[in-house]
């Protein structure tokens, strides 16, 4: 749907400001009541989810035009989806702020108003099929020496989609190599697409590049089909969110394959007795829910229909819209895996699951406004510390990297682990052989 087609939704915004906070029932304290990192950064109402809805309505109504400040309110936003969850607590499908913000970004691109940092990412993507600009040929350099089969050459039950971040960020290679080693230890028949793996297209879409999602989702779906796998597995929560929420929007839903995140698969392998974490890891940890694995990883389908009036004027959707409240994300699996590691004690932050607070790295915000990403990450780390945890665990390369960058930049110390790293510790793999 084009932005202008959301006019009725935009007009339904009551400007209640709920989008700025975590969903009303889950405000547990003064300090951690805020749910929107963007309003925390920019402060003016335009930075909030509702504010961007108002901007969208004003833009499509011809009331305003583009300006540098307007574009900053749109792009200093990690597209984390908190606004959608909080808004839907009140208004269900009536406003849909996240859908509107996505469309606003698409309109910005169509109107030639893209952020320069985003343009650079897209240029990389067009040239090398990844947004980091690394050579296509090096896509599977991370896997060197692991003996992983080429899933496009040899049939495998599981296609491991690694994603751009793990492929080209060498600081994260211990995690992805570790994940591969876990799969090998569990005897999983898996492969990767090697240099044929491409970006999922999700980050491009979040930056407003609709066509890139269309073409990459089509290509990737084709590769999955070509591989003939039963399971599409990814360690990247961004990719997972793309597969579950964005591919259906692009008409490329992956209905013929089971899409799993590594946390889900590790849980399954553990339950099946194929993986066992017997090594004690005495550590009190807190778990950060990545947005794209949580509320943005909830499977959903685009809705096409009409709004009818009943009881004289109550709006109902026909056919009924399957409203995504964020509760169907992947929340239990990573916690189950963590709690299965002997010695690990899980303590929760206040903002978790569908009302989790973002790390700040999403939506192209880190690239366009690094100070936004830094501020947001440090706020989350502070919340993690407040639980008494000795470390923060998450399950997303973007979150891990952004937290570690923020800690380094601010000169702070706080251990940040990917879930895979803790499982490796629990298996003693690191101690015995190292993940490298």
């Amino acid at each position: 749907m084009a932005l202008s087609e959301y006019k009725q939704n935009m007009e339904q915004c009551a400007r209640c400001s709920c989008c700025k906070f975590v969903a009303p029932p889950y405000v547990e304290s003064y300090q951690y009541a805020i749910g929107c990192p963007s309003i925390g950064y920019g402060n003016f109402h335009a930075y909030s989810g509702g504010g961007k809805v108002i901007t969208s309505l004003a833009l499509t109504s011809g009331v305003i035009d583009y300006s540098e400040e307007m574009l900053k309110t749109v792009h200093a936003c990690s597209m984390c989806g908190n606004c959608a969850v909080s808004c839907k607590f009140n208004y269900a499908e009536k406003v849909e702020p996240l859908e509107i913000i996505r469309e606003l970004r698409c309109k910005i691109v169509e109107d030639g108003q893209s952020d320069p940092a985003h343009i650079q990412l897209i240029n990389y993507l067009k040239r090398e099929d990844n947004i980091f600009g690394g050579p296509k040929a090096d896509r599977s350099a991370w896997a060197e020496g692991l003996g992983i089969k080429d899933a496009l050459e040899e049939k495998a039950e599981v296609l491991l989609h690694v994603g751009c971040h793990y492929s080209y960020d060498e600081t994260l290679w211990p995690i992805i190599r570790g994940a591969a080693r876990l799969l090998q230890e569990a005897g999983v028949d898996f492969g990767i697409a090697k240099k044929e793996e491409i970006c999922c297209g999700g980050r491009a879409y979040e930056m407003g590049y609709r066509q890139e999602l269309a073409s990459y989702s089509e290509s990737l779906k084709g590769r999955v089909k070509e591989a003939g796998c039963k399971i599409l597995l990814t360690c990247c929560s961004d990719c997972y969110g793309s597969f579950q929420q964005l591919y259906p929007i692009a008409g490329q839903g992956l209905a013929d394959v089971e899409v799993l995140h590594i946390s889900q698969y590790l849980e399954r392998l553990t339950k099946e007795g194929k993986l066992s974490t017997g090594e004690k890891v005495p550590l009190r940890v807190t778990y950060h829910d990545p947005c794209h694995l949580g509320r943005l990883g909830e499977p959903s389908q685009p809705w096409h229909g009409t709004v009818k009036k009943v009881l004289n004027m109550m709006d109902v959707t026909d056919p009924p819209k399957d409203v995504s409240f964020g509760v169907g994300g992947v929340y239990d699996a990573p916690r189950s895996v963590l709690q299965g590691i002997p010695g690990v004690e899980l303590v929760e932050m206040e903002r978790i699951k569908e009302y989790s607070f973002c790390c700040g790295a999403g939506g192209g915000a880190k690239e366009a406004y690094p100070d936004f990403a830094l501020k947001t990450a440090l706020e989350r780390i502070e919340e993690a510390r407040s639980t008494g945890a000795e470390a923060l665990v998450t399950s997303c390369p973007w979150c891990v990297r952004n937290f570690r960058d923020a800690l380094e930049e601010s000169g702070q110390q706080f251990p940040v682990y990917d879930l895979v790293e803790l499982v490796l510790k629990g298996m003693g793999t690191v101690k015995k052989e190292g993940a490298q």
Binding site: P24, Y30, F44, G51, A58, E69, N90, L311, V323, G326
Partner: protein, 544 residues
């Protein structure tokens, strides 16, 4: 209209470039009128154009009272209006005049103090009710949360508007929860009112120190039309539950486990007289913590995630609360001890039995959802999904601070007036025979508000206005005046209805001109400095 460059420079110099904006997109966030408000009754053309009203010339983000003072002084110097806003829910929070600087108080968001022994908190404008409630509950206290929901500003509600929530039985209403206050006058002077006026803490609005709360807020509040409040002492109340509330369900249908020595009851009667008698006994015995009655269909809106699901269950007849249960009090009993709880619970049940009432057994998951709403209301949010446009979000309110004896009359009036408009194809949403909420408040009086949903069509608005006129006509006929309803008194409405209310508009105008000689504070939701041309009462049809 653009801001005077010298004024802009002065504001930027004071606050820094990051705390002032004149960008049109940013300003639209302070123009957009989210909720149709009372102006729909006065100016139909203004009702449904979200960008139709005056646009601010700048928005500023002060961090402290001193900055607010200086902003107001700059506005005086350059003959600019200003209007403060916290979370900005409701059309009254938006500018109503041209050449206005919006003062977004978002950065003034500190809970300065929580005094457990003396039961008050000192808060700044952008502390939300949910934030405050979450902190004080950890210390065995509660605060009033109006039905607009927990993301409203208690400071704004207590100083500049008014409101009632379901715990009003115990926690009164917000205009009565204001203790000491810090106020930047429209001339930029800083005053502390009540006990803080003599450096005697924030626990008392009456003094020692000057007390002119009545002048500054009256019953309805000046809604930003008379200076800017920057800090208040706010009443807190005991909260007996010892354990942290445990949430149940999943978004958006979230509930809470019943705390020890608590019980939720849904009691209903077959006549308004019996329901009224029960209310008197409940108030006399003080056994309730929260009590509320809302239009019966609306309970189903809490219990369902979407309009579709509500409508499906409404049609299926699977909602637990139906139109048979219209005469009800949803009540929360809260005991300090087991003995206290057993006593209160027993007394409540006896009152219900003695007045021929019945207790409705609800499924546990539904009871949990309604229980949360009795503690920390999110009524307006969960209900506005039915239809955003409401008749004045209060509309033809029938009584506030009134005698419980009026209960039967006001419901019968509302039902009588509504019946024509809730028929199929009518001007109002057909969500039950009435639209009236009621609370036994404090517990000594009746507080009611009527909320009626209407469509964004001229026909619906015309019908809704006609309906409101019928209600007014009925009250005029019965009581000879409109003195029942001070909630209507916002902005230009004062000059219409004021003559019915002891010429309150003249007093308000004197206050406005005395405190705000240059009319710096946006007067649109308070009173204009000069009387407008004579405005007749809207046509009030004869009520039959």
């Amino acid at each position: 209209m653009n801001i005077d460059q010298n004024a802009y420079d002065a504001l930027q110099s004071l606050l820094g470039a990051e705390n002032i904006s004149v960008d049109p997109a940013v300003l639209m966030g302070y123009r957009f009128s989210g909720i149709t408000f009372i102006e729909s009754l006065v100016d139909r053309s203004a009702a449904f154009d979200p960008f139709g009203g005056p646009k601010p010339i700048a928005v500023v983000l002060p961090s402290c009272a001193e900055e607010v003072q200086e902003i107001v002084r700059i506005c005086n110097r350059y003959r600019i209006h200003c209007k403060a806003q916290s979370t900005g829910y409701g059309g009254h929070a938006m500018p109503g005049v041209e050449n206005v600087v919006m003062v977004d108080l978002r950065k003034m968001n500190r809970i300065v103090e929580i005094d457990e022994k003396n039961l008050y908190a000192v808060i700044e404008p952008y502390v939300t009710a949910h934030q405050l409630q979450s902190e004080v509950m950890k210390r065995g206290m509660n605060c009033h949360v109006i039905t607009a929901g927990g993301n409203h500003s208690p400071l704004a509600s207590a100083t500049s508007f008014q409101g009632q929530g379901p715990t009003g039985f115990t926690t009164s209403c917000n205009q009565r929860n204001l203790l000491g206050a810090e106020w930047v006058s429209p001339t930029g002077d800083l005053h502390r009112i009540g006990s803080p006026g003599s450096d005697a803490g924030w626990s008392c609005g009456d003094g020692p120190g000057p007390d002119f709360r009545g002048l500054l807020r009256g019953f309805t509040g000046a809604a930003g039309g008379l200076g800017i409040f920057t800090r208040i002492g706010y009443k807190l109340y005991p909260w007996p539950a010892k354990e942290k509330l445990k949430k149940t369900g999943k978004l958006p249908v979230v509930g809470v486990e019943t705390p020890e020595n608590y019980k939720f009851h849904f009691a209903y009667w077959e006549s308004w007289d019996e329901m009224t008698e029960a209310a008197y006994h409940i108030m006399e015995s003080e056994v309730a913590y929260s009590t509320v009655r809302i239009p019966q269909d609306w309970w189903g809106w809490f219990l369902t995630p979407t309009n579709n699901e509500f409508y499906r269950r409404f049609q299926d007849g699977t909602l637990p609360i139906t139109r048979e249960h219209g005469m009800h009090w949803a009540t929360l009993i809260a005991g300090r001890t087991k003995t206290d709880f057993e006593y209160k619970n027993k007394v409540f049940q006896k009152i219900v039995a003695d007045t021929n009432g019945k207790l409705l057994e609800l499924p546990a998951e539904d009871e949990a959802v309604l229980l949360l709403q009795m503690i920390s209301p999110m009524y307006t949010q969960r209900l506005m999904r039915a239809k955003k446009s409401a008749l004045g979000m209060g509309g033809p309110t029938l009584a506030q601070m009134e005698s419980m004896s009026l209960l039967k009359k006001l419901y019968e009036t509302d039902i009588d007036c509504m019946k024509e408009y809730v028929k199929p194809g009518g001007a109002l949403m057909a969500a039950g025979p009435d639209g009236t909420w009621a609370w036994p408040s404090e517990p000594r009086k009746l507080w009611t508000e009527s909320v009626h949903f209407l469509d964004e069509t001229p026909e619906s608005l015309a019908g809704a206005t006609e309906y409101a006129g019928k209600v007014l006509g009925s009250i005029m006929k019965d009581r000879g005046s409109l003195a029942f309803d001070q909630r209507l008194m916002i902005g230009g409405v004062n000059d219409i209805f004021g003559p019915q209310l002891g010429n309150v508009q003249d007093w308000m105008r004197k206050i406005k001109n005395a405190f705000d000689p240059r009319n710096v504070s946006d007067h649109s939701t308070y009173i204009s400095p000069e009387p407008p041309p004579p405005m007749p009462m809207p046509p009030v049809p004869e009520f039959k």
